[in-house]
Amino acid sequence: MGYTLAEKLLASHTNDGKATAGDIVEANVDLLMVHEVLGSRILGVLEEMEFKKVWDPERIVVVNDHWAPASDINSAEIHRRNRNFVKDQGITHFYDVDCGISHHVLPEKGLIVPGELVIGSDSHSTTYGAFNTFSTGLAATDSALILATGSCWFRVPDSIRIDVTGELQDMVMSKDLILKIISDLGPDGANYQSMEFHGDTIDTMKVGERMTISNMSVEAGAKCAPMTVNGHVNKWMETLAPSKRWKPTLPDKDAEYIDTRTYDIKSDPLGPMVATPDSPTNGKAVREVSGVPIDQAFIGSCTNGRIGDLEIAAKILKGKKIREGVRLIITPASKHTWMMALERGLLKIFMEAGGIVTNSTCGACVGGHLGVLGAGEVCISSTNRNFKGRMGHQDSRIYLASPATVAASALMGAITDPRSV
């Protein structure tokens, strides 16, 4: 019997080289990312552990991204603690409030390497699966244990294989595809499992689009969402991480999957999708909700704040004005993305259309700052979660969609199919 991607990627990190679905294994972590949860929670756990030194200061990445720059005194204190920890422990990779969102910054800095085991103190750490890694999110205590020891226990997940074939149509994005897939699975359809993606759609997809898919797989409960390496990932690594040595990992031909799902978007074309409140798995075709009035449109986050996302939004907004009374907030995923958007003239298009461009941060996505919703307000957002109260007041409502659909909706002041503007 052969092995899945999740099994093979984990097996290469256990002492005996074995990992079969259902086993509990101890595995050696290649990279650990921690953000504000370091200062707010992990340091307290480390203190209880009577911890002295991190296991390897070169394999830990610290990021201040959720409330960047500090939104209040508490977040300022958390950032201060993180900076001190980085200094005390001699941590090599530190990205302070000027850098952007962890899940975009790490790959951009060439820190995500195919074949590796990457853990983050954040549930959307599944994003790195787009780079052929086993990556998942854990919380403060597990992160503290990894900081001290470099290893962690894992239950080796069963895998669901997802094959996608065909080309995405104009104005349809990978966000629409993943909204469809997780809506079919439901909020716990992949709980404890690996969602393994294949097919020519995934194999030809750009890195950013693949990251959107791995990122949102966690909304169906997935533990990880690995893909195989494609030409775009190869090129990304050559350009951004030329010194790194790695080999691609493939699943065995006779790997065992607990479920296989096929999406043939060639014979059954996929249109833009919108997830209605209060679950990312409430995906509907945009026509079912078009016309719902909005107060705010948000483009940003680790799901869809990348250069490709900003480009498609700019294409829709160019030379036009958003509807009066609507706020359009654009938060590029990283400083590098911001600079590219500046050089390509995208920021000018957004500002002239009536938008607001913020610095790179999680910001509005986590209801932190720079776009918090008030009572009764409706937002269409390119983020990944529309839980009740996620972006602000508990009586606000969030519709999730692609950056194209968000931009089109900002123009019309109501949820709009981007193919119609």
Partner: protein, 170 residues
Amino acid sequence: MTKELKPVTGRAWVFGNDVNTDQIIQGQYLTLLDYAEMAKHTFEIPRPVFKSKVKKNDIVIAGRNFGGGSSREEAPKVLLQSGIGCVVAESFARIFYRNGFNVGLPLLIIPNVAKLVSDGETVIVDLIEGTLSVRSSGDVLHGKPLPSRMLNLLKEGGAVAWYKQSSGKH
């Protein structure tokens, strides 16, 4: 310093399916550095009365997929801080399941539990046997006994105590 795992007796707070971590504790409170302060906002959205009415050893009962969404360990922490003795659900989201045992909050899986227990009823949960009994009717619901790894974590008093014990730092 192994703890004995005595049965927990308390009132049931019954919830439905897919109670995510934003419903347990909203993102806007995560920068609060003191857990006691944060715990005042537990279940603020789905059950605003929770914080004023909760008593020590009360038990949270839920449907499928309790604790989905964010990885925040603050979710099981504020439940512990509020006095919750254990959570019994039809299933748990992956990260929440790990986090619960890591911080010393017992979690038990019992099929259909949210349909079979009424809100406010007094129930007795036996973690070793994996059972829940309803005091008034005497009905006993059977779940899966806890995996030994999780049982050991609870007996040690959570992952930190387990770490100190296993690395000989007692």
